[in-house]
């Protein structure tokens, strides 16, 4: 774990005094980067109480990186908000805390303690209820507690069909609900930021990035990510066609299940009982990207919550989940 600390400290030093790049950024990444920075500055300038929703994953890593660049040499003009379901991989939490400390970030963590105390978990409660209570409800509670009027999220349009139509500035009513019929047309880079008291806007600065762009940017701009993205020997069990890591003793093993050490990595990070690993030998970024280029399974299929039913993401969005 001292590895993580050293990595994020070195990373933080880059923002103390900027150094000129050795190799120019690829043309299309440069354009994507500029677009995202533009969006973030609009939000910082026009909203009273913005926040960045930070999920510790690679998309969040890129989003945070862009924000550090957007406001350089100033510090981030807004806090980060993490929703901790208490079932995240342990390494994610270690990473989160090390990063916040190294960069001097204001990291707010929200836990739905009541649901945790009641023993809500993915295997007894089912993935839907688990997500609803520990993620959606907790996020809603944080939004209400801090009265955020704008919240950055790391969603991309290439992730899923219903997201392809999502605006960059996505309007939410007083209950954080999303009404697909009531979204504002978005022209040029001229974003309408006007809202009434109690309403809020979700802002997606990575809308036009693809998964490959994210990896390429991490590679070209040397952005640290949670080591779980790299292949290593980890204890896993096979369950319903998914490879699940036994991250702690809470995961109840079914009859016949025996954790085995396998070389695996994760393409997406969330609650460990709900996140499938893939078998891989990719231990460097270069190898991950090469694997990506020949990948035949899309990113979200590693996420159990999306399999429930078609159009499920849209339903979740209406309820206030991203």
């Amino acid at each position: 774990m001292s590895d993580i600390t050293a990595t994020v400290r070195a990373y933080a030093d880059r923002f103390k005094s900027a150094k000129t790049r050795e190799r120019p950024l690829s043309a299309h990444l440069k354009a994507l980067e500029a677009e995202s920075i533009h969006i973030m500055r609009e939000v910082a300038a026009e909203f009273a109480n913005p926040v960045m929703l930070y999920s510790i994953g690679k998309d969040s890593a890129v989003m945070l990186h862009l924000a550090l660049k957007a406001f350089y040499p100033s510090r981030l003009p807004f806090p980060l908000q993490h929703v901790d379901t208490t079932f995240k991989f342990r390494e994610m939490i270690t990473y989160r805390d090390a990063l916040a400390e190294a960069l001097g970030l204001e990291m707010r963590v929200e836990i739905n303690q009541e649901a945790v105390d009641r023993g809500v978990n993915p295997w007894d409660s089912g993935s839907q209820l688990h997500t609803q209570l520990l993620k959606t409800e907790a996020l809603r509670a944080a939004m209400n507690r801090y009265k955020y009027d704008a919240a950055f999220g790391g969603a991309r349009r290439d992730e899923e069909k219903s997201r392809a139509k999502e605006r960059i500035f996505s309007f939410r009513d007083g209950n954080h609900g999303w009404d697909p019929k009531n979204q504002r047309p978005e022209l040029w880079r001229n974003y309408n930021t006007k809202i009434r008291q109690g309403e809020s806007i979700r802002v997606f600065p990575l809308s036009n990035w693809t998964e490959l762009d994210i990896w390429q940017y991490i590679l070209e701009d040397d952005i640290p990510i949670v080591p779980l993205y790299y292949a290593a020997e980890r204890p896993v069990v096979e369950r319903d066609g998914q490879t699940i890591m036994v991250d702690d003793e809470r995961l109840p093993l079914k009859a016949g299940e025996k954790p085995e050490l396998k070389m695996v990595r994760f393409r997406t990070l969330g609650c460990y009982p709900l996140t499938g690993a893939i078998l891989s030998n990719a231990t460097t970024l270069e190898e991950i990207v090469l694997e990506m280029l020949t990948a035949r399974t899309s990113e979200r299929s590693g996420r159990l919550i999306d399999h429930d039913e078609a159009g499920s993401m849209e339903k979740k969005k209406r309820e206030g989940y991203f």
């Binding site: 900027a18 609009e42 022209l187 270069e286």
Partner: protein, 631 residues
């Protein structure tokens, strides 16, 4: 055995397709022309689909598909459940794919007639428009409409995709007939390129691979064309502009201005000017988190540090000192209306251009464009999806360049001040007067001189409320008491205005707005003359009352809400109007079958069902005294 892969190798492989940057295009056409299939094809053939997506696609094809047992590529695109069930796309969706030569972003916009606004939204960020035509149907009214919107939004390249060629036996003659027909109307609209391609999207013919059945087609396939098209824009060669987004002030030793360069280039040592204030300075540094730059070009997000401290804030435009943008508060623009509530000249909206936001009104609508025939037609309002030529005036001067020269300096949106919806989009064509001339001719006798002589501070006392609430009665007593105390007054009400100044106006929504606008302007002149002006008008719309409020200075507008309940007003019915409304003899009667938007924060509120008109008048005068208006 492991293969050594260097970072440079991987990056080289990745960047192959990114080197030419990104081409953004949109597809337009009528329902069922094959847009979604075309895009699905491009995604499928560029191997961008993953196995699990293909499995879902096959499953969905069986359930919802319209292509029999074959894969229905269109299903890849329909995102939202409801529309999937209706079988139409109703919004703008963005898709991404890449070939070895280039990266692409596709805006998928619907062909449904009423969705002009979606297409304009997609077109606002696109380099190329692909016009889909069903070879059996040929050029339709919609084709012309979409072509007009593409031109209006400044798209320079058109692909005429004549689709479903398999259904017309791949006939060369039919293709040429359609192309000739299209060029008749599109040729002189000023597009840089128009490239016709015969294709069958369903089978991929001339989309990603050459068609054997159409070997007569000598030109490129769609993908070849999009890969090769040169879209370099001239905006790099225009003068430097950067609207300031955010003032970057980490500590007392650093002050920078963050923004995106929208045109031209900037280097340390360049002389710049702040467009609105005219203040000048020299660029000292161009700061980024990747080190200082020697030069920044259009599209880059940077932070400028200047050689001296001058007053700059968000909304200002930093520009090349030797070639500055125009600054004006009146200009002509093409406006596309996107709201169900009509655009009404005279009504106040918020206008956002670049990083500046200011109240604005459409001062006149010169004409509406019929985009099916390209004819200009006189009109007094714009409906949803209407396009019109307008003059606008803003509360504060704005810096701009014409839209066709520098897109980001001439593009604006209009925002409804009550709902906050984006209701219009506009492209500035030219300024109507320079802001430097608008400082009115300085008069020898000023407003404050006139007020001082009269020993009062002038104001508009705006009485609003339902018919029969008691507005005129109370206003009349207020004026009588003020006059008796030696104050100089005037009163405006329906009677002295409707018969003269506003004789030409009726009671439609547009006319009501114009009625109030004129009254506001007259009230403002009387305020300038030093008078206390009472105005009694139902004035049901918040936005019009706010418009009048903004015409005069801060505390010169006093809103008096005569808040008498509707039942009491109906019972009083002094002019018998409610009875007529109930009998259906009068339409659009406020409070009855037309809404009254009550003031949210009036300076004064009285309810004449609780107190007498005399008492109400006394309350108004007491409040005026408290506000210091009575000297």
């Amino acid at each position: 055995m492991t293969v050594q892969t260097s970072r440079a190798d991987v990056i080289a492989r990745l960047t192959q397709s990114g080197q030419r940057g990104v081409l953004r295009f949109l597809t337009c056409g009528s329902v069922d022309d094959g847009k979604s299939t075309l895009i699905g094809r491009l995604l499928f053939d560029s191997k961008l689909l993953f196995e699990d997506q293909i499995n879902v696609l096959e499953k969905d094809s069986r359930k919802h598909g319209t292509a029999g047992d074959e894969i229905d590529f269109a299903l890849l695109l329909d995102g939202l459940e409801a529309e999937r069930e209706q079988g139409i796309t109703i919004d703008v969706a963005y898709r991404f794919f890449a070939t070895e030569k280039r990266k692409f972003v596709v805006a998928d916009t619907p062909g449904h007639e009423q969705y002009t606004r979606n297409m304009a939204t997609g077109a606002s960020t696109a380099d190329v428009a692909v016009m889909m035509i069903d070879a059996r149907k040929g050029v339709l009214v919609q084709t012309l409409r979409h072509t007009y919107i593409a031109r209006m939004m400044g798209i320079r390249h058109i692909v005429l995709a004549v689709n479903k060629m398999d259904l017309v036996d791949h006939a060369r003659g039919r293709f040429h007939e359609i192309v000739a027909d299209y060029l008749k109307s599109a040729d002189d609209l000023g597009f840089e390129t128009i490239t016709p391609i015969p294709m069958s999207a369903r089978y991929g013919d001339n989309v990603t691979h050459r068609s054997e059945s159409m070997s007569w087609h000598q030109g490129p396939t769609l993908l070849e064309h999009l890969e090769a098209l040169d879209i370099d824009s001239d905006v790099q060669n225009e003068p430097f502009r950067m609207p300031v987004q955010w003032v970057n002030r980490p500590n007392l030793n650093f002050r920078g201005y963050s923004g995106t360069v929208v045109s031209g280039t900037v280097q340390p040592g360049d002389a710049i000017a702040v467009a609105q204030s005219g203040l000048t300075a020299t660029v000292a540094r161009i700061v980024t988190a990747d080190g200082d730059l020697d030069k920044a070009v259009a599209g880059e997000a940077v932070t400028l540090v200047l050689d001296r401290e001058i007053d700059i804030s968000r909304g200002d435009v930093i520009a090349a000192a030797e070639a500055r943008p125009e600054v004006t508060d009146q200009f002509a623009a093409e406006v596309l209306w996107m709201s169900g509530d009509d655009l009404l000249p005279g009504r106040s909206y918020l206008l956002k251009i670049g990083t500046a936001t200011t109240p604005a009104t459409v001062s006149s609508l010169k004409y509406r464009v019929d985009i099916n025939t390209y004819e200009k037609k006189p009109s007094r309002k714009l409906e949803m999806n209407g396009i019109g030529q307008c003059n606008l005036s803003t509360a504060r001067p704005i810096a701009f360049d014409p839209y066709h020269k520098i897109r980001d300096m001439g593009a604006f949106i209009l925002i409804d001040r009550f709902t906050n919806q984006t209701v219009g989009a506009g492209m500035i064509e030219f300024g109507l007067r320079r802001a430097s001339n608008i400082h009115h001719h300085a008069m020898d006798v000023s407003k404050s001189d006139r007020a001082q002589i009269k020993g009062q501070k002038p104001a508009i006392l705006w009485f609003t409320g339902l018919s029969g609430a008691g507005k005129s009665t109370v206003a009349n007593i207020v004026e009588r008491k003020l006059a008796a105390a030696g104050h100089h007054t005037y009163s405006l009400d329906g009677d002295n205005v409707r018969h003269g100044l506003n004789r030409d106006l009726g009671f439609t929504d547009e006319d009501r707005v114009e009625n109030i606008r004129r009254i506001g302007e007259v009230g403002k002149l009387f305020v300038d003359a030093g008078l206390l002006v009472t105005c009694s008008f139902i004035s049901p719309f918040r936005s019009e009352r706010r418009m009048v409020r903004e015409l005069v200075e801060g505390d010169e507008f006093v809103e008096v809400f005569i808040d008498t309940p509707l039942e009491v007003c109906m019972q009083r019915d002094p002019k018998g109007l409610y009875k007529k409304a109930q009998a259906g003899e009068i339409k659009n009667f406020t409070g009855f079958d037309s809404p009254y938007e009550a003031p949210e924060n009036p300076e004064i509120r009285v309810d004449t069902s609780q107190i007498s008109a005399e008492e109400a008048a006394d309350q108004v005068i007491a409040k005026l005294r408290e506000m210091g208006r009575l000297g």
